[in-house]
Subunit: 253 residues, 3 copies
Amino acid sequence: MNNGFPAMIGLDKLILLILRGGGSMKIVTADSACSILDKDLMPTNILSTVAIVVDFPYQTPTAVQARDGDYSIKDPTVLVHELRLCEELLDIEPAECVHFDLTLGGTNLLDITDEFLFQLNLSPTGRSVLHAILPDLREIALSIDEKYHAPVLAMGKRSLPVRIAELYASAHGIARAMGIASVLEAEESIYLGLPEKVLASFDEEGKVKVTSEEPMEGSLVAEAPINNGVSVEPFLNPMTRGFQVLKLTKCDA
Amino acid sequence: MNNGFPAMIGLDKLILLILRGGGSMKIVTADSACSILDKDLMPTNILSTVAIVVDFPYQTPTAVQARDGDYSIKDPTVLVHELRLCEELLDIEPAECVHFDLTLGGTNLLDITDEFLFQLNLSPTGRSVLHAILPDLREIALSIDEKYHAPVLAMGKRSLPVRIAELYASAHGIARAMGIASVLEAEESIYLGLPEKVLASFDEEGKVKVTSEEPMEGSLVAEAPINNGVSVEPFLNPMTRGFQVLKLTKCDA
Amino acid sequence: MNNGFPAMIGLDKLILLILRGGGSMKIVTADSACSILDKDLMPTNILSTVAIVVDFPYQTPTAVQARDGDYSIKDPTVLVHELRLCEELLDIEPAECVHFDLTLGGTNLLDITDEFLFQLNLSPTGRSVLHAILPDLREIALSIDEKYHAPVLAMGKRSLPVRIAELYASAHGIARAMGIASVLEAEESIYLGLPEKVLASFDEEGKVKVTSEEPMEGSLVAEAPINNGVSVEPFLNPMTRGFQVLKLTKCDA
């Protein structure tokens, strides 16, 4: 009945194997979020990048580094910026590996060859974008490998730490956008687009709380202090399901 | 580091651009829902079509037009019927664009050429269906363009207004099916299939409340008054995950 | 306007058709779950297989058969084991059809020909796996057909009963893993991986409760009695979103 496939494995052997191993590892990652929307409610730019370190039980970061961003939504160098921020954070808080915000099945960045990319069946645009930033990414990955012995893995959307970083980047981006809105003329508005399946709520104490609507992720939360003097009207983007928009208006003082 | 991609964009310019724009727009759309299931719990027909107008904050329609339908589940002319209902509603309540229940990346119906369809890589059936109804759809889209200057966009499943219309079509279809069940013989039943990730609940005051189980859509709700004298047994369709079925039985008077 | 597609169907005819039919059917199915994870939090084996019978309203099984498993995660004969368990359960509790844990559009196993598989566009690995176990599967399906006149349908992930079986296999697998953990040395741990979008919670009375985080499936639940003397630390797998892991540690007595 075994048909040449691996035979049944004795359970005892497996457990001993486990006990010598880990399951707990420190991971550094970064992600970007939040965009000012145009009149058709389409994203134009990226407002915020955050790098974090997470450790078991992978719920709340042990370190957070937030940065303002001003990238066009079409500018792939934001990925280079993210990896550089990971390297900076590794200097402060060591970690065993980097989860990089590019979804290529967890491949080590240093193992990505031209042949590998050729087999990926990317769109012409996707390929040219990757080719353009890959030299910079490899250089940083090599530096991270030399200094911290941490592999940079192209985990992308599959990685939970990347998602946690996205929630923190959302909180930071909302705080920044409310700062921008607070210096508008009274009654003027900007529309802020959040990442997919991310909800923002606002409490009485001047904080924004960002949560994930993705199944299984109900326990994740990121917070940031926010500006007063700005009114927030949340709504769902009619042009694309699953995305919340915040209409931010300078209050009439 | 810029690699020939768009340079960083000054944030001030972006904001000024936004303030001249909108973000608030009236959208008309229509969708169909609810099917009487056969003995294998597969859909056979379409019971209900509803057109709506939504405006900021895109939560509750400002106008609703419900129609009984009796289309076979395989009959694509239901799409023609939906677009005609949008045109009728535009005559009562103007809107800036039409979200059409066909998922083609938001393309304007008037821009869909044979070459465009050829590149879509559709199945032979899908292509022949589209070819069959496209002349009627184009004629209505042209009439809408001339009379109301509103583009008809093939947004389909990505559109939130299409989803809201689906919830209203569900509520109307459930009310209609309960009317049908109320004239059955006692103890006779029909099985009513609802759209994907749609839940119906029934209150004491003779109303059905329809909600979405899709992440982010917990705030959407549609209601309709219903017949008494019909018992409802809700269950999940065992043949296909994510779909609720209502077993409707004439109560023994 | 009809364009050669099926004409509108009179509703009365449809209803009469329905009333002669069913909508209620007994279904037998089996699924496997729970894996001890390696140090990279990747699954290594399969701990538990459960067969169930469900009937209208498809919420709670009317019969449950749980079995310990010790299959490598790469061993496809677990599917043969599942179908054999279905056959055993049919001997105790008759059912009208078998939902088999292989996603091939609901095709009857006896209708799967080489030509059918060729057209499926499977990966080379997937094809060789299927070829290896198909003779055994066909033999069991033939025996089920002869003895119980029940077709074996390759419903896989679309089937609600398969999902219910997965929840019961999870509860059984957790109970088994806690039994294993209870004989470890104090402070030793194993990491147990649960299926996608499955959550475990533990009550004061010594039971594990397994629920689904999939939309629409909030009413499904499976339970099993568990060992005391083992501490449980649940966390989300950082390597792959949507999966819960239980860290099981022998308590210091």
